[in-house]
Symmetry: C2
Subunit: 371 residues, 2 copies
């Protein structure tokens, strides 16, 4: 998939705006489109809607809902008929986030006055992403959510939903996330963005998006990200110091399998993701802080009414278990209904995107949604 | 200090070669110079020589030996009169490593036939670095070492000394190191090197070394390195999510203190280090494997005769305590004299370069050298 393309199962909602959409950072948008997929059907009581919030590099195509002619989605094992997020039971909605590059308004969208936004796109925040999701649901006629579910940057959106629209949401499932990113996580993102901006192909964000670019700066950013998405032990097991035959890459390449793996990840990513979009989204993730304007996590979460399921993975070092536990303990302190589970896993942060035998995430989320 | 300059306390040993120096990777060197500093004096018994092996980005200037007019060296708190490595007691030698950019033969050296080596410099290994140190000691008239001491990449050199020249060394102090780098460590180095090589200023290594270059690729590599040199907890304590007033850096910069810290580290580093040298040295570190040609660490270390002090730091995640423990346990298994201490510290990998109150590293190394 080229980075400008979206899955053809995704439809675009054209959201009518009475006035320009004001963003948290002071910017405005005159038009708003949201790429959207839905699975299953809204029941007559209109109380079975479930919203999925995707992580940074994903899109609205969460599942193929077992349609054999459609490519599997990024959460296929988790969303579909009979799965944890059961599309025979729930009306499931997934939208591409604001600032994304898979159909929702973002740096690749046409700018009023001609051309594409590029880096003239206004700064966006997690709060803005959630506002836009709210508008999209309105457009779909959804006035209430049985649940909102998301991991990583999607999990931050879940937390924001719970505190900002407390009467709209019954259940919140926040996976592999936190009230904010750690300084170490910030540091990796900062270096990734510098790498993109230092790439001569980036041209201050004014590259031609249809060009076949190397975008090595984005490749480096993705490789840094990838190292933080998987655990140290998993790297030991998966690669060790194993050598690969016939690997290329110039004088300073090594023949280590981990090198060809990382290069492959980088090359694959630039074909499907827009560098400017990456800059906007990763900065939004860095700036998010659930506690902003409140004394602490508990004070912020006191605005919520819903029941929570908080999941972490033992080997996640981008959003380590403690950052999920902080949320769970804060919820417990203010008397909210909360289940917290740290799932033992060697997969690291990416564990929520991978099906495991007798998948604990599926079991736990499935039971929580039905409870 | 500009990256082409070395401290003026450092002298250059011109090592006579009867035949070209054959390197492990198949390359050859026709001439060899080694930048060197010494502190203290060789005693009449000629049995008080101590060799220091520096980590990747340091040089021969380990200490000013309390001379007030000389800049402190990188291990000043640890090496000097009355310090752990007591220059009133020992004749201390520190040489810039092969492939470095502080006076020892490396990519900045003149190439036979004119011009500088640049990326025509042959591939080097930790084994080659140790061979060159051996030659330098010969040149200084040192036929035996009371001790060899080093941290990180310098610690790998210590291990190599112990197994390759077993009769030359009485005591080996290996700090914050391992028999090899972990796959996660390799991954960060690989991304760092790609970042350097993707920098248009790098020009396949044929940049003019005297030019005032941004070398943003090297800056990114250094920033990645820096994140791995300090611990997660230390980043939490030192920076948190604190904001800095008046920070600059374009649209996608954040105001986080950690961002200005990282940028400063990157900018400072390019002024004092050569990108090609970084490529050669980091690749040598990645490729080193003490067990090469042997069944395991114990089988490799069975070649050594000396006593060992192995030190790690609890929060080091580049060379975590387990990688030091692996060495200590292997030495214990084969009946070598070994002390292993994991020093509690929040400083991460860089802890060995920082003086702590009642400095445990100084206490332990001082006692071990005198024992």
């Amino acid at each position: 998939m080229h980075r400008l393309m979206r899955p053809n199962t995704t439809r675009i909602l054209n959201i009518p705006l009475k006035a320009p959409l004001a963003l948290k950072g002071g910017g405005k948008l005159d038009a708003l489109e949201v790429a959207c997929e839905t699975y299953g059907a809204l029941n007559p009581a209109r109380d079975n809607a479930v919203l999925l919030c995707h992580p940074l590099s994903m899109d609205a195509h969460a599942s193929n809902n077992d349609e054999p002619d459609i490519e599997p989605g990024w959460w296929n094992f988790f969303v579909g008929p009979g799965r944890a997020v059961d599309t025979r039971r729930y009306f499931v909605i997934c939208t591409n986030m604001l600032g994304g590059c898979k159909g929702t308004t973002g740096p690749l969208s046409p700018r009023p006055g001609g051309g594409l936004y590029g880096t003239d796109f206004p700064a966006i925040t997690v709060e803005d992403m959630v506002s836009v999701q709210r508008r999209a649901l309105q457009e779909l006629g959804i006035g209430h959510l049985h649940a909102v579910i998301g991991g990583s940057l999607g999990g931050m959106q879940v937390l924001e939903w719970a505190v900002r629209y407390p009467d709209f949401v019954d259940k919140a499932v926040a996976i592999a996330t936190g009230a904010h990113l750690s300084p170490q996580g910030l540091a990796f993102d900062i270096v990734g963005r510098l790498s993109i901006m230092n790439d001569p192909e980036w041209k201050q964000g004014r590259y031609a998006p249809e060009a076949e670019l190397q975008m090595t700066g984005l490749q480096v950013a993705r490789m840094i990200g990838h190292i933080t998405y998987i655990s140290r032990n998993m790297m030991d097991r998966k690669f060790g110091r194993e050598l690969q035959n016939g690997s290329e890459g110039g004088t300073f390449a090594t023949a280590f399998t981990v090198e060809s793996f990382l290069r492959y990840q980088g090359e694959k990513f630039v074909k499907r993701f827009d560098p400017n979009s990456y800059l906007y989204l990763s900065r939004a993730m860095d700036l998010y802080d659930l506690t902003e304007g409140h004394e602490d996590i508990a004070a912020s979460l006191a605005r919520s009414h819903c029941a929570f399921l908080v999941l972490s993975f033992s080997s996640d070092w981008l959003f380590p278990p403690e950052s999920s536990l902080d949320i769970a303990l804060a919820l417990a302190r203010i008397g909210r209904h909360v289940n917290y589970v740290c799932i033992p896993s060697e997969l690291g942060h990416d564990a929520f995107l991978v099906e495991e035998p007798d998948d604990p995430q599926s079991r736990l989320v499935g039971a929580f949604l039905r409870s």
